[in-house]
Symmetry: C2
Subunit: 581 residues, 2 copies
């Protein structure tokens, strides 16, 4: 045996034991005739002590060790005179009697400490060293615990984890596929799955009743901030259920995760209609850690010859509590914020409810005190509040005010990463209009069922058809979404028609699924959670990158292994493909 | 709620309850004025009963149901007059008061029964219907249980499951890679991993200490019987360990699997040197459910002017106990068996130890009774035994007799699928000579460490260098293998040199790993189990196909979804590749 214990295990209970430890040299201090070395492994840090008087050679060997050297050290567990009660092992040290260098180490390119001096690029190139740092490794351990908890919870509820194929078929619907040329079927390609959607539905047709999988999925999209070409889903499906069953089952999953992994009691998750979420927060994924809901002023403010309001489809406001004291500069910052190209608003109007009770707005010349009082009343302001008002076309102004609301939430410290607020958003629209292709797209995917009472609207008002679709939102991030699926061939065919598929196209791409619906498909539905995102929220991180062991950069490159890379002509020839640059 | 319970739950304890069941119509019988329907779901079968006298419409609706219709039925749990004690629900039936058809079903193309009339091709095309059959679905449930058990066992031992990337880099070593053209890095390709080998080693460099993953791997090889282009590994790695630690940890895993999943107490797993396995069984994966070890007769039989033996490098024999009564025809069958092209032997010699104690061989004219007695003695034959002898060059004759041994084991009923015998095979050769490329290849992979005492032989006798490598064999199938890895840059570079890599090639392909070894790599080693194979052995199946939900056929095609398939020119253009057929 190389070691008898780990570097996180020894306490006063082990005094007098002879032990062997293995690990990395974290740091070293010489103090008079003594040398102290902190040895580190995944489990903790233990102090080793060497004494010139006891054994000069050994102590000098210890002094020759560099940072990150891998060593094996044997000795006696003794009590420390200078205890460090912050560490589990801080009351003891090991009086070393033998020392072996298992591997030397070059000086790392950045500090292996909780706070490092390494920049992003360097840490990605030497990701294996970055993973040595406690915060990064702890993210991976958190992720492991979450996956274990998910599996335990679902297994206990009779869900079966079934592995679906990674080499599947390319479909034009949705995001861009990664493809894999087939050598045995030259000229043909597999595709990597964007989700196991059709397979899990087939498993329901097979009678699996309850399926789940924690599974890699792939999307060849341009990587905006915080997207990865490969990502992980918790993918689930149930048969013979209604929406209520799914909401209860997976609310239970999320609450169990919070309890078991974070020891946090997530309250019952409130539910909100999509339409209400848009009306009250301007977003289908509102951050409900704070209120600051939208208030509609449209009717109240029209007809006073203020053209911005008079010409607006919608005038909405939020009450930024306690911000009446904002300086001109601070208000200008907010105006600049909403004028940024990615938000694209033209202006911001405010109403101050001053500490002395007076009301002042940036449009005082159009509205008298009486009118401002009405605004104040519907916004329920108190002395010290600042009302921020925006106007425009409904969809745009809602999005814009939503951004401002989040900004105000951040400025007011209302978006604490250690606080968690979850929400179900229900009854999404089935279809959304795509300006670019000038046709309707499935808002979730083409297998989502419309609400039965809305099917009649499919021809006349397709944009108003609601779906049996739901998202779970935590802290303003969509962590999962799903739907009750179509299980009837005719309805599925109708959906494809409305999505612009010809009958032939639909049959070619999804014939296997529609055929399956004819052999006894049960009512079914499911949900998929973005596991990377869920882990990052649990870890209190903004980015998913640090909950992925070996992530890719924004160009889809793994800079550590230098991938993608060119391949041999021999490989290309075997695959019967050529590059065409 | 669509249902109140499942079709496998109701017993005498539920008498008098009103229940709602959902499921598939398994079968239907009309008996006078009664109709009985077996309704099936994943959990079981329950009998529904309808009575013409009670409700004519309902009973007629029931009679109109076809096989595999999906129904919802509500009624009262009553005691059956004609009980079926073989089924958990066989003492009750449900007197139905309401019936809904949730989905009709066309007649399935084959019987959804334990024994089906569907051929392989048809069942693959309608895999979702094949998965409805109990034996196939039970295989998937077994697989799920095994995965859960693996995770529970390893988690309890502080192993962390870390997801390694699927989009990695192509390497020329080993089997052929599947590649994925990169759109964002046109002209470059990712590769799908054949195993996460280098990543798990980097995780050891990162100090993860104990890693595992149940992970999809990919190999673009011609699919001989029972290979799949995508397969699943239980992939594991440990730091600061010796071979003994790995053998103990993973013997524990396999024994836990047998205990928890099959309720079978696997005895302590014996260990055998590779050289001994070859000598005693002619195979590095001997089936140890039965003995029938090889006995070397070379020295004993030479010098009697029998040219077959005199010219042979090796003469070996097995004792087929109780087969002395084999007819001439049966012996001829064995001769034909070993002469088949895939075995390629030229002849078989036998020695009968007849029931009357006499000895008769097929080479009586060269060997007298005295000599045959010596053979009988070393083979420890008893009256009724048949000795089968083969001669030739060492490697060939061992392989040939190994095949014959397995054939005899099968004929003698010694290879019961419900019996399990495991074995560790240790100390594999590091390198093996490849006739085709005329160079040495790594027998396991290039990261396997040589035994320290054999390193000196690398230059002089590379074929004799033993590796710190081990396989676990169950019932004659290799279910897993691994090694203690190289963790020293210089030794790794030496290995690449011996494998024919130039320094530049080695650096280009594996520089990231060799660089990592310079920053403090711990001693480490690991193992990977073929999860599909392990599941098939547990399920008592010959093929891995039926433990995979959606397998591909021998041409790498998924005939259900019709993949691989051609893709749009638009996709090809975006990827900047062309097909070159």
């Amino acid at each position: 045996m190389l070691r008898t214990t780990t570097c996180g295990a020894l306490t006063m209970e082990n005094l007098g034991e002879n032990v062997i430890l293995c690990g990395w040299v974290q740091k070293s201090r010489d103090l008079g005739g003594m040398t102290f070395i902190d040895i580190r492994d995944r489990y903790g840090i233990t102090q080793l002590v060497f004494n010139m008087d006891d054994n000069r050679d050994l102590c000098e060997a210890a002094r020759s060790l560099g940072r990150e050297f891998v060593i094996k050290a044997a000795g006696l567990v003794v009590e420390r005179s200078n205890k460090n009660l912050k560490m589990p092992t801080g009351e003891v040290e090991i009086k070393i009697t033998s020392l072996d260098i298992l591997n030397a180490a070059k000086l790392p390119p950045f500090l292996i400490e909780d706070e490092t001096d390494g920049g992003d690029d360097l840490r990605m190139k030497y990701r294996y060293l970055d993973l040595r740092r406690n915060p990064v490794r702890n993210n991976m351990i958190l992720r492991h615990k979450m996956a274990q908890t998910v599996r335990r919870y679902l297994d206990a509820l009779d869900f079966i984890e079934v592995e679906t194929p990674v080499l599947i078929k390319s479909t034009p619907e949705g995001a861009r596929d990664f493809v894999v040329p087939s050598r045995m079927n030259a000229g043909e390609f597999y595709a990597l799955p964007q989700s196991p959607q059709t397979f899990k539905q087939l498993l329901m047709v097979s009678g699996f009743d309850r399926y789940f999988q924690i599974v890699k999925c792939f999307r060849d999209e341009d990587l905006r901030a915080d997207r990865q070409p490969e990502f992980t889903q918790i993918d689930c499906e149930m048969s013979f259920i209604e929406q209520e069953d799914i909401l209860n089952t997976f609310e239970g999953l999320i609450r169990t995760l919070f309890k078991d992994v974070k020891d946090f009691d997530l309250p019952e998750v409130p539910r909100m209609q999509y339409a209400d979420a848009m009306r009250l927060y301007g977003s289908d994924k509102p951050d409900t850690r704070f209120e600051m809901q939208f208030v509609e002023l449209t009717d109240l403010v029209k007809g006073k010859d203020f053209p911005v309001f008079d010409n607006a489809e919608l005038v909405i406001a939020i009450n930024a509590k306690g911000c009446a004291g904002y300086t001109r500069k601070q208000v200008d910052e907010l105006t600049d914020f909403i004028k940024r190209p990615q938000i694209g608003a033209t202006g911001l109007i405010y109403l101050r409810h001053n500490e002395d009770g007076s009301l002042r707005s940036s449009v005082d010349k159009f509205y008298n005190e009486e009118e401002l009082k009405k605004w104040s009343s519907v916004l329920n302001t108190q002395a010290g509040d600042l009302v921020l008002i925006m106007a425009g076309t409904t969809d745009k102004v809602r999005k814009q005010l939503s951004e401002l609301r989040l900004e105000m939430g951040s400025r007011l410290g209302l978006r604490d990463k250690n606080k968690f607020s979850a929400l179900w958003v229900l009854d999404f629209p089935l279809l959304e209009w795509d300006e670019e292709t000038e046709r309707y797209h499935a808002m979730h995917h083409p297998f989502t069922s419309p609400k039965p009472e809305d099917i009649a609207l499919l021809d006349s008002k397709p944009g108003e058809v609601r779906a049996n679709a739901y998202d779970m939102v935590v802290n303003g991030t969509e962590i999962g979404g799903g739907s009750i699926r179509i299980h009837d061939r005719a309805l599925q065919a109708l959906m494809f028609k409305h999505l612009g598929f010809s009958t032939e196209e639909a049959q070619k791409q999804f014939g296997f699924l529609m055929d399956a619906f004819e052999f006894g498909a049960p009512p079914h539905g499911g949900i998929a959670f973005g596991f990377d995102r869920l882990c990052s929220i649990f870890a209190g991180l903004d980015s998913i990158r640090d909950v992925i062991a070996f992530p890719k950069n924004n160009s889809g490159r793994d800079v550590m292994i230098d991938s993608p890379s060119t391949i041999d002509d021999k490989q290309l020839n075997e695959l019967k493909i050529k590059t065409a640059l």
